[in-house]
Protein backbone atom coordinates (compact mmCIF):
# COMPACT_ATOMS: atom_id res chain seq x y z
CA UNK A 1 0.00 0.00 0.00
CA UNK A 2 1.38 3.38 -0.92
CA UNK A 3 0.17 6.38 0.99
CA UNK A 4 1.10 9.96 0.29
CA UNK A 5 0.62 12.15 3.33
CA UNK A 6 -0.13 15.79 2.63
CA UNK A 7 -1.83 18.52 4.57
CA UNK A 8 -3.39 20.81 2.05
CA UNK A 9 -6.27 23.22 2.49
CA UNK A 10 -8.85 22.39 -0.15
CA UNK A 11 -9.66 26.05 -0.73
CA UNK A 12 -6.04 27.26 -0.52
CA UNK A 13 -6.13 28.68 -4.04
CA UNK A 14 -9.24 30.72 -3.35
CA UNK A 15 -7.85 31.81 0.02
CA UNK A 16 -4.58 32.95 -1.58
CA UNK A 17 -6.39 35.04 -4.19
CA UNK A 18 -8.69 36.42 -1.49
CA UNK A 19 -5.62 37.52 0.46
CA UNK A 20 -4.23 39.25 -2.66
CA UNK A 21 -7.57 41.03 -3.03
CA UNK A 22 -7.48 42.03 0.63
CA UNK A 23 -3.94 43.40 0.31
CA UNK A 24 -4.91 45.38 -2.79
CA UNK A 25 -8.03 46.78 -1.10
CA UNK A 26 -6.09 47.68 2.05
CA UNK A 27 -3.41 49.38 -0.01
CA UNK A 28 -6.09 51.63 -1.47
CA UNK A 29 -7.76 52.05 1.94
CA UNK A 30 -11.02 50.60 0.65
CA UNK A 31 -13.39 49.14 3.26
CA UNK A 32 -15.11 46.12 1.71
CA UNK A 33 -18.20 44.22 2.76
CA UNK A 34 -19.52 40.94 1.40
CA UNK A 35 -23.31 41.13 1.48
CA UNK A 36 -24.98 37.72 1.72
CA UNK A 37 -28.50 36.38 2.22
CA UNK A 38 -30.98 33.88 0.92
CA UNK A 39 -32.78 34.96 -2.27
CA UNK A 40 -35.39 37.62 -1.59
CA UNK A 41 -34.31 38.79 1.86
CA UNK A 42 -33.66 42.23 0.44
CA UNK A 43 -29.92 42.51 -0.28
CA UNK A 44 -30.38 44.69 -3.33
CA UNK A 45 -33.00 46.86 -1.62
CA UNK A 46 -30.65 47.37 1.34
CA UNK A 47 -27.89 48.19 -1.11
CA UNK A 48 -30.07 50.75 -2.90
CA UNK A 49 -31.10 52.41 0.35
CA UNK A 50 -27.48 52.45 1.48
CA UNK A 51 -26.32 54.07 -1.76
CA UNK A 52 -29.09 56.65 -1.50
CA UNK A 53 -28.19 57.43 2.10
CA UNK A 54 -24.44 57.64 1.56
CA UNK A 55 -24.65 59.63 -1.67
CA UNK A 56 -22.35 62.64 -1.46
CA UNK A 57 -20.78 61.37 1.80
CA UNK A 58 -18.69 58.44 0.56
CA UNK A 59 -17.26 57.22 -2.70
CA UNK A 60 -18.90 53.84 -3.07
CA UNK A 61 -18.50 51.11 -5.70
CA UNK A 62 -20.46 47.89 -6.13
CA UNK A 63 -19.66 44.41 -7.39
CA UNK A 64 -22.87 42.56 -8.17
CA UNK A 65 -23.04 38.77 -8.22
CA UNK A 66 -25.98 37.18 -9.93
CA UNK A 67 -26.68 33.71 -11.26
CA UNK A 68 -28.28 34.79 -14.51
CA UNK A 69 -28.99 38.48 -15.06
CA UNK A 70 -27.60 41.98 -14.76
CA UNK A 71 -30.89 43.32 -13.38
CA UNK A 72 -29.34 44.20 -10.03
CA UNK A 73 -26.47 46.11 -11.64
CA UNK A 74 -29.06 48.10 -13.60
CA UNK A 75 -30.83 48.94 -10.33
CA UNK A 76 -27.55 50.02 -8.75
CA UNK A 77 -26.40 52.04 -11.78
CA UNK A 78 -29.28 54.49 -11.17
CA UNK A 79 -27.42 55.73 -8.12
CA UNK A 80 -24.49 56.87 -10.20
CA UNK A 81 -21.90 54.60 -8.58
CA UNK A 82 -19.42 52.40 -10.45
CA UNK A 83 -20.92 48.90 -10.62
CA UNK A 84 -19.47 45.69 -12.06
CA UNK A 85 -21.72 42.74 -12.77
CA UNK A 86 -20.46 39.19 -12.35
CA UNK A 87 -22.87 36.66 -13.88
CA UNK A 88 -22.02 33.22 -12.52
CA UNK A 89 -24.24 31.36 -15.04
CA UNK A 90 -25.63 28.93 -12.55
CA UNK A 91 -22.76 29.22 -10.06
CA UNK A 92 -24.10 29.44 -6.54
CA UNK A 93 -21.49 31.77 -5.04
CA UNK A 94 -18.76 34.26 -5.88
CA UNK A 95 -15.12 33.16 -5.71
CA UNK A 96 -12.08 35.33 -5.07
CA UNK A 97 -10.80 35.09 -8.67
CA UNK A 98 -14.07 36.53 -10.00
CA UNK A 99 -13.75 39.43 -7.60
CA UNK A 100 -10.12 39.92 -8.64
CA UNK A 101 -11.21 40.26 -12.28
CA UNK A 102 -13.93 42.70 -11.28
CA UNK A 103 -11.44 44.79 -9.25
CA UNK A 104 -9.30 45.21 -12.38
CA UNK A 105 -12.14 47.08 -14.05
CA UNK A 106 -12.66 49.57 -11.18
CA UNK A 107 -10.72 52.74 -10.49
CA UNK A 108 -9.55 51.79 -6.99
CA UNK A 109 -8.08 55.24 -6.33
CA UNK A 110 -11.57 56.65 -6.29
CA UNK A 111 -13.31 54.23 -3.90
CA UNK A 112 -13.70 54.35 -0.11
CA UNK A 113 -16.36 51.70 0.34
CA UNK A 114 -16.82 48.60 -1.81
CA UNK A 115 -19.97 46.55 -1.45
CA UNK A 116 -19.91 43.06 -2.95
CA UNK A 117 -23.41 41.67 -3.32
CA UNK A 118 -23.04 37.90 -3.34
CA UNK A 119 -25.33 35.41 -5.04
CA UNK A 120 -28.53 34.82 -3.05
CA UNK A 121 -27.58 31.72 -1.07
CA UNK A 122 -26.92 31.11 2.62
CA UNK A 123 -24.86 27.94 2.15
CA UNK A 124 -22.10 28.21 -0.43
CA UNK A 125 -20.80 31.77 -0.03
CA UNK A 126 -19.77 31.06 3.57
CA UNK A 127 -16.83 28.90 2.41
CA UNK A 128 -15.39 31.44 0.00
CA UNK A 129 -13.37 34.34 1.30
CA UNK A 130 -13.38 37.13 -1.29
CA UNK A 131 -10.95 39.45 0.48
CA UNK A 132 -13.63 41.45 2.29
CA UNK A 133 -13.20 43.08 5.69
CA UNK A 134 -16.40 41.47 6.91
CA UNK A 135 -19.54 39.64 5.92
CA UNK A 136 -22.95 41.21 6.39
CA UNK A 137 -25.86 38.78 6.37
CA UNK A 138 -29.38 39.98 5.60
CA UNK A 139 -32.31 37.99 6.96
CA UNK A 140 -35.99 38.84 6.94
CA UNK A 141 -38.84 37.66 9.15
CA UNK A 142 -40.83 36.61 6.06
CA UNK A 143 -38.37 33.73 5.65
CA UNK A 144 -39.06 32.51 9.17
CA UNK A 145 -37.26 33.22 12.41
CA UNK A 146 -35.37 29.91 12.27
CA UNK A 147 -33.06 30.84 9.38
CA UNK A 148 -29.95 31.13 11.61
CA UNK A 149 -30.51 27.60 12.93
CA UNK A 150 -30.72 26.24 9.39
CA UNK A 151 -27.60 27.99 8.11
CA UNK A 152 -25.31 28.27 11.13
CA UNK A 153 -21.93 28.58 9.36
CA UNK A 154 -23.06 31.73 7.57
CA UNK A 155 -24.35 33.35 10.75
CA UNK A 156 -21.19 32.31 12.60
CA UNK A 157 -18.92 33.78 9.90
CA UNK A 158 -20.79 37.07 9.57
CA UNK A 159 -20.01 40.14 11.68
CA UNK A 160 -23.23 42.00 11.04
CA UNK A 161 -26.86 40.88 10.77
CA UNK A 162 -29.43 43.12 9.13
CA UNK A 163 -32.98 42.03 9.90
CA UNK A 164 -34.92 43.55 7.04
CA UNK A 165 -38.66 43.96 6.34
CA UNK A 166 -39.48 44.66 10.00
CA UNK A 167 -42.57 46.59 8.83
CA UNK A 168 -44.13 43.22 7.96
CA UNK A 169 -43.85 41.83 11.51
CA UNK A 170 -47.52 42.56 12.40
CA UNK A 171 -48.65 40.30 9.54
CA UNK A 172 -46.38 37.34 10.30
CA UNK A 173 -46.10 34.52 12.79
CA UNK A 174 -42.39 35.17 12.84
CA UNK A 175 -40.91 36.73 15.98
CA UNK A 176 -38.17 39.33 15.87
CA UNK A 177 -37.00 38.32 19.35
CA UNK A 178 -36.73 34.66 18.31
CA UNK A 179 -34.83 35.55 15.16
CA UNK A 180 -32.41 37.68 17.18
CA UNK A 181 -31.94 35.01 19.85
CA UNK A 182 -31.40 32.27 17.28
CA UNK A 183 -28.72 34.38 15.60
CA UNK A 184 -27.03 35.37 18.87
CA UNK A 185 -26.77 31.82 20.18
CA UNK A 186 -24.69 31.04 17.10
CA UNK A 187 -22.71 34.26 17.16
CA UNK A 188 -22.97 36.40 20.27
CA UNK A 189 -20.79 39.13 18.76
CA UNK A 190 -23.13 39.82 15.83
CA UNK A 191 -23.97 43.48 15.45
CA UNK A 192 -27.67 43.60 14.62
CA UNK A 193 -29.58 46.27 12.72
CA UNK A 194 -33.33 46.14 12.15
CA UNK A 195 -34.45 47.79 8.95
CA UNK A 196 -37.32 48.33 6.59
CA UNK A 197 -36.59 49.45 3.03
CA UNK A 198 -40.25 50.40 2.70
CA UNK A 199 -40.47 52.77 5.67
CA UNK A 200 -36.75 53.58 5.83
CA UNK A 201 -36.59 52.48 9.49
CA UNK A 202 -33.10 51.59 10.71
CA UNK A 203 -31.34 52.52 7.46
CA UNK A 204 -29.84 55.61 9.08
CA UNK A 205 -28.34 53.61 11.96
CA UNK A 206 -26.88 51.03 9.61
CA UNK A 207 -25.37 53.68 7.34
CA UNK A 208 -23.93 55.65 10.26
CA UNK A 209 -22.20 52.51 11.51
CA UNK A 210 -20.97 51.62 8.00
CA UNK A 211 -19.70 55.14 7.40
CA UNK A 212 -17.73 54.95 10.66
CA UNK A 213 -15.89 51.81 9.47
CA UNK A 214 -14.42 53.57 6.46
CA UNK A 215 -10.77 54.48 6.85
CA UNK A 216 -10.17 58.19 6.43
Amino acid sequence: MSIITIERQVLEKNDAVAQENRNLLNKHRIFTINLVSSPGAGKTSILEKTLEHLRGRLKVAVIEGDVQTDLDAQRVARYGVPAVQIVTRGGCHLEANLVREALQTLNLKDIQLLIIENVGNLVCPSNYDLGEALKVVVASPTEGDDKPLKYPPMFRNASVLIINKIDLIPYLNSSLATLRNNALQINSSLRIFETSCTTGAGIGDWCTWLDAQVIR
Partner: protein, 126 residues
Amino acid sequence: MRRNGPLHELSIAQSIVEIVEQNLPANGSPRVRSIRLKVGELAGVVVDSLEFCFAAITSGTRLDGATLDVDRIPLMVVCRTCHQTFHVEQFVFLCPTCGRGDVEVVSGRELQVSEIELAEESQEQV
Protein backbone atom coordinates in the same frame (compact mmCIF):
# COMPACT_ATOMS: atom_id res chain seq x y z
CA MET B 1 -17.03 36.27 -16.66
CA ARG B 2 -16.11 32.73 -15.77
CA ARG B 3 -18.52 30.39 -14.16
CA ASN B 4 -18.36 28.48 -10.91
CA GLY B 5 -20.02 25.14 -10.27
CA PRO B 6 -23.74 24.93 -9.62
CA LEU B 7 -23.03 23.54 -6.15
CA HIS B 8 -20.17 24.65 -3.98
CA GLU B 9 -19.46 20.94 -3.41
CA LEU B 10 -18.61 20.79 -7.12
CA SER B 11 -16.03 23.58 -6.80
CA ILE B 12 -14.68 21.85 -3.71
CA ALA B 13 -14.46 18.49 -5.53
CA GLN B 14 -12.57 20.23 -8.36
CA SER B 15 -10.12 21.72 -5.86
CA ILE B 16 -9.58 18.28 -4.28
CA VAL B 17 -8.85 16.74 -7.69
CA GLU B 18 -6.33 19.51 -8.44
CA ILE B 19 -4.52 18.97 -5.15
CA VAL B 20 -4.41 15.19 -5.64
CA GLU B 21 -3.14 15.52 -9.23
CA GLN B 22 -0.35 17.83 -8.04
CA ASN B 23 0.78 15.25 -5.49
CA LEU B 24 0.76 12.10 -7.62
CA PRO B 25 4.15 10.63 -8.62
CA ALA B 26 5.21 11.87 -12.05
CA ASN B 27 6.41 8.45 -13.23
CA GLY B 28 3.98 5.70 -14.15
CA SER B 29 0.29 6.35 -14.13
CA PRO B 30 -0.75 5.49 -10.61
CA ARG B 31 -4.41 5.05 -9.86
CA VAL B 32 -5.84 6.46 -6.70
CA ARG B 33 -7.65 4.14 -4.33
CA SER B 34 -8.74 6.61 -1.70
CA ILE B 35 -8.38 10.18 -0.55
CA ARG B 36 -8.53 11.05 3.13
CA LEU B 37 -10.18 14.34 3.97
CA LYS B 38 -10.63 16.33 7.13
CA VAL B 39 -14.00 18.05 7.15
CA GLY B 40 -14.97 20.15 10.13
CA GLU B 41 -18.54 20.24 11.44
CA LEU B 42 -18.58 23.98 10.69
CA ALA B 43 -17.12 23.63 7.17
CA GLY B 44 -20.57 23.72 5.61
CA VAL B 45 -19.89 20.76 3.35
CA VAL B 46 -22.48 18.07 2.65
CA VAL B 47 -20.40 14.90 2.30
CA ASP B 48 -22.99 13.07 0.16
CA SER B 49 -23.04 15.94 -2.34
CA LEU B 50 -19.24 16.07 -2.32
CA GLU B 51 -19.03 12.32 -3.06
CA PHE B 52 -21.55 12.67 -5.86
CA CYS B 53 -19.69 15.58 -7.47
CA PHE B 54 -16.32 13.89 -7.01
CA ALA B 55 -17.52 10.68 -8.72
CA ALA B 56 -19.02 12.68 -11.57
CA ILE B 57 -15.88 14.70 -12.37
CA THR B 58 -13.37 11.85 -11.93
CA SER B 59 -15.17 9.37 -14.18
CA GLY B 60 -12.68 8.04 -16.76
CA THR B 61 -9.63 9.59 -15.03
CA ARG B 62 -7.02 7.89 -12.84
CA LEU B 63 -9.05 9.03 -9.86
CA ASP B 64 -12.06 7.07 -11.14
CA GLY B 65 -13.48 4.88 -8.38
CA ALA B 66 -11.40 6.46 -5.61
CA THR B 67 -13.25 6.69 -2.33
CA LEU B 68 -13.37 9.75 -0.13
CA ASP B 69 -12.59 8.80 3.47
CA VAL B 70 -13.86 11.64 5.56
CA ASP B 71 -12.64 12.36 9.08
CA ARG B 72 -15.30 14.58 10.61
CA ILE B 73 -13.60 17.09 12.89
CA PRO B 74 -15.74 18.06 15.87
CA LEU B 75 -16.70 21.67 16.39
CA MET B 76 -14.82 22.59 19.56
CA VAL B 77 -14.75 26.03 21.10
CA VAL B 78 -13.11 27.61 24.12
CA CYS B 79 -15.01 30.06 26.32
CA ARG B 80 -13.15 33.36 26.65
CA THR B 81 -14.86 34.03 29.97
CA CYS B 82 -14.29 30.82 31.95
CA HIS B 83 -11.77 29.11 29.63
CA GLN B 84 -13.81 25.93 29.43
CA THR B 85 -13.41 23.96 26.19
CA PHE B 86 -16.58 22.28 24.91
CA HIS B 87 -18.17 20.60 21.91
CA VAL B 88 -20.84 22.69 20.22
CA GLU B 89 -24.09 20.72 19.94
CA GLN B 90 -26.74 21.85 17.46
CA PHE B 91 -24.72 25.00 16.75
CA VAL B 92 -25.48 26.53 20.15
CA PHE B 93 -22.29 28.48 20.83
CA LEU B 94 -23.13 29.17 24.47
CA CYS B 95 -20.81 27.98 27.23
CA PRO B 96 -22.51 25.20 29.23
CA THR B 97 -20.61 26.32 32.34
CA CYS B 98 -21.08 30.08 32.44
CA GLY B 99 -23.72 30.59 29.75
CA ARG B 100 -21.75 33.25 27.86
CA GLY B 101 -21.44 33.25 24.09
CA ASP B 102 -18.00 34.85 23.77
CA VAL B 103 -16.25 31.75 22.45
CA GLU B 104 -13.43 31.03 20.05
CA VAL B 105 -13.58 28.17 17.56
CA VAL B 106 -10.57 25.88 18.06
CA SER B 107 -11.56 23.17 15.60
CA GLY B 108 -14.36 22.39 13.17
CA ARG B 109 -13.60 24.72 10.25
CA GLU B 110 -11.21 22.23 8.57
CA LEU B 111 -11.48 21.38 4.92
CA GLN B 112 -8.24 19.57 4.06
CA VAL B 113 -6.80 16.78 1.99
CA SER B 114 -4.63 14.76 4.38
CA GLU B 115 -3.70 11.53 2.56
CA ILE B 116 -3.75 9.95 -0.86
CA GLU B 117 -3.68 6.16 -1.07
CA LEU B 118 -2.49 4.70 -4.37
CA ALA B 119 -3.79 1.39 -5.74
CA GLU B 120 -1.52 -1.70 -5.40
CA GLU B 121 -0.60 -2.13 -9.08
CA SER B 122 0.71 1.40 -9.27
CA GLN B 123 3.22 0.54 -6.56
CA GLU B 124 4.83 -2.03 -8.84
CA GLN B 125 5.07 0.51 -11.64
CA VAL B 126 6.67 3.12 -9.39
